[in-house]
């Protein structure tokens, strides 16, 4: 039975109003606190300080945004591809699983940020080193998520495909891969947020461009209005990328949108 759309039309509107109201309240509180003189601009810059920050760094701002965005997208894309690829291989081949499981489990609890000094030693301040850090951080999450999702695929789906004549590789590509896609959605979104954090952390050390670099140099001069501008921009970038990712995931799992509606 198709959803008539009755409840579907009301609830998203209510959700949107609630979300917008909550955000508006935060902005109003910020304006009152800063423009009302309750909090000093050094501790929390106000809207006028942000406008001033934009004019202060107007010339270099686009390049910082662009570099951070590129580092995030390249690192995330490589990390997702590597993580899903290795996870699928581990789920497909017992030999690969036996070989890699121990290494991944030992590596997984280590925060990637803790490895930044080593990455600086090995790769210097290069683009490659920063990308590798993001790639590894994202890949570790995606390997585990993919492997676990493969373990949760109902056995009868693969067995049905086998009795319909599918070979092992066909079962992997036509059954297991599509079956795990909905389960990967959460991990893909978490990894995206992590990749932005890792890029910013890596830009704190030795970078000459990027929003992380901008935050770091502004810290030295107590330019908190520039720091807050960079933070707001990071929030906008992060939110926009997450929105685009959700649109992409919706396209990759169209059957889930239908079951979620009904």
């Amino acid at each position: 039975m198709r959803n008539s759309g009755g409840t579907g039309k009301i609830y998203p509107r209510v959700n949107w109003v609630l979300g917008f109201t909550a955000m508006l309240l935060v902005v109003v509180a910020w304006v009152i606190l800063t423009e009302g003189g309750i909090v000093k601009p050094l501790y929390l810059p106000g809207p006028r300080d942000i406008i001033r920050a934009i004019s202060d760094v107007a010339e270099e701002l686009p390049i910082h945004i662009f570099v951070t965005l590129i580092r995030t997208l390249v690192g995330y894309g490589l990390g997702v591809s590597l993580g899903i690829g290795v996870g699928l291989l581990m789920g497909y081949s017992k030999v690969t699983k036996a070989s890699l499981h121990g290494i991944i489990e030992a590596w997984r609890p280590i925060p990637p940020i803790a490895l930044i000094p080593f990455f600086l030693l090995w790769f210097g301040f290069s683009f490659f080193g920063r990308i590798l850090l993001v790639t590894l951080g994202v890949a570790l999450i995606m390997v585990v998520a993919t492997y676990e999702a493969m373990q949760n695929v109902p056995a009868q789906l693969s067995e049905a495909a086998k009795t319909l004549g599918a070979r092992r590789q066909q079962v992997l590509w036509t059954v297991q891969w599509p079956a795990i896609r909905p389960e990967l959605r959460g991990s893909l979104r978490v990894s995206l947020a992590l990749s932005i954090s890792l890029v910013i952390a890596s830009e704190f050390l030795g970078a000459q461009t990027g929003l992380g670099y901008l935050i770091n140099v502004s810290k030295v001069t107590f330019s908190t209005h520039v720091i807050l501008l960079a933070v707001i921009l990071l929030g906008i970038i992060s939110g926009s990328l997450d929105y685009l990712l959700r649109c992409l995931l919706k396209r990759l799992t169209p059957w889930c949108a239908i079951s979620e509606q009904s």
Binding site: Q156, E159, T253
Partner: protein, 245 residues
């Protein structure tokens, strides 16, 4: 057939000798957990017997292939494919020729089930009974030598179950596919089958084989005939705990 357990192998099936003729519908009945599913999985090639063999058209069975398609007790329709893509799965992977959706057993099943207008919908938009019929259509579309159905009406409510059963019965009567089904419902088995195999004991063995001679086409009203009631009672008594054959 033995299952490995922590305290040694557990024998599940023993001395099961069964041959199925082309175009015949054999229904295996027996209590839950007796080994009906294990028997079908062995025929499908999903399990290997510890002793003995399965042959289809003289060829020994070693692994699953599209000559023995199985419809499972648990839902196995692919939710990410449309109804059409599900039905064409075997041909899409090169295991069967492209099925005729306009006529033949698949076409008739689509018409009887009202699925023809839902071919481009995802299974998530269908009722449980319709999804079960998609699985049956997908199995028939692979043009198997033998279609295996493990409790094909499992988890359907009584009205849907009757309707799905009627649709399958019409397809069986018009196209005579070779089928081995399992059921714990004797009435259902008598409606559909040409032969009933009663599986009992531990390890399970074939206790009785009953030819079902009710003429086809069969209607639900044969359930009220004296012969039907008598045969049904006889089989149910032999299935009861401590029943004698």
């Amino acid at each position: 057939m033995d299952f490995p357990m922590s305290n040694g192998p557990l024998p599940v099936l023993s001395n099961v000798n069964l041959s199925v003729q082309k175009g015949e519908v054999v229904v295996v009945v027996g209590p839950s957990g007796i080994g009906k599913t294990t028997l079908l999985r062995i025929i499908a090639g999903l399990l290997s017997p510890t002793n003995g063999f399965v042959r289809v058209l003289g060829k020994p069975v070693h692994e699953p292939d599209s000559s023995r398609v199985m419809v499972f007790q648990e839902p196995s329709v692919f939710p990410w494919m449309t109804v059409r893509e599900n039905i064409k799965y075997a041909s899409r992977i090169g295991a069967a020729s492209s099925p005729d959706l306009s006529s033949g057993p698949v076409g008739e099943l689509l018409d009887l089930a009202g699925l023809r207008t839902r071919l481009d919908d995802f299974p998530g938009t269908l009722s449980t009974g319709m999804r079960r019929l998609v699985e049956l259509a997908r199995g028939l579309a692979a043009q198997p030598k033998i279609l295996l159905g493990d409790e094909p009406f499992y988890a359907l409510d009584v009205y849907v179950r009757r309707s799905v059963r009627e649709i399958l019965l019409r397809v069986i009567e018009h196209y005579s596919p070779t089928m081995v089904l399992t059921s714990h419902d004797v009435e259902e088995a008598l409606f559909l089958g040409d032969r009933l195999v009663v599986l009992c004991g531990r390890p399970a063995t074939i206790r009785e084989i009953h030819p079902v001679l009710f003429p086809r086409p069969r209607s639900r009203y044969i359930a009220y005939s004296g012969d039907f009631i008598k045969l049904r009672r006889q089989i149910e008594e032999s299935l009861a705990p401590g029943g004698t054959a």
